[in-house]
């Protein structure tokens, strides 16, 4: 699944560690989500959407799959 996490994080000048702390996961989890190899659970996707003040669809894109 594609996502805009890296772009959104960079726009706020947050490190991966910082974003991880904000949503309660490790830096490794953020890296794995940013690479697109690991899809977050729905609760984590909601947390990410909340910290960026966006909807889940504005962050994650499943390419219509």
């Amino acid at each position: 699944m594609n996502n805009r996490l890296r772009e959104l994080r960079a726009a706020r000048n947050w490190s991966q560690q910082e974003l991880g702390v904000r949503v309660g996961v490790s830096r490794q989890a953020i890296i794995a989500i940013e690479t697109g190899r690991f899809d977050p659970s729905l609760p984590l996707a909601f947390k990410l959407a909340r910290v960026f003040d966006l909807s889940i669809e504005q962050i994650f894109d499943d390419d219509g799959k």
Binding site: S26, Q28, I33, T35, G36, P40
Partner: protein
């Protein structure tokens, strides 16, 4: 959990893990001594001591895995699957090598180090896989 309390919990877990590892080292030695003494009660006690020395370590590892986030749980799932399949493959290979009289039957204790190595290799491989750009 706040970062500070998480850090303190991690330090406590680390010391508990070290303690459980020490117990894991002492338990089999004490068990072996009791088993070798020969009486039924001592042999039963030896088996019990050696097996029970695993319990704290197992509980601590379960706790460590359960406290991880969803990514860490995924990595452990992959690593444990790798370790399980690897052990099955090693056991099948040794079984057939033994049946064909190429090697002597090795002691079952060899499974533990093989399992640990495969588990850690699985953790490294899974971590690498998920953090590599897609």
């Amino acid at each position: 959990m706040e970062p500070n309390s998480r850090f303190r919990a991690n330090v406590r877990t680390f010391y508990a893990w070290i303690g459980s590892m020490a117990l894991l080292g002492i338990g089999p030695i004490a068990g072996e001594m009791l088993v070798r003494n020969g009486s039924l009660v001592e042999r039963v006690a030896g088996v019990a001591v050696a097996m029970l020395s695993w319990v704290p370590w197992i509980l601590i590892v379960i706790g460590m895995i359960r406290r991880g986030d969803e990514f860490s749980l995924r990595v452990h799932l992959v690593a444990l699957a790798v370790a399980f399949l690897g052990i099955m493959a090693v056991l099948a290979t040794i079984d057939w090598l033994t049946r064909a009289a190429f090697i002597e039957q090795p002691p079952l204790a060899f499974i533990w180090p093989v399992g640990f190595v495969l588990w850690f290799a699985g953790i490294l491989v899974a971590n690498r896989h998920y953090q590599r750009p897609a």
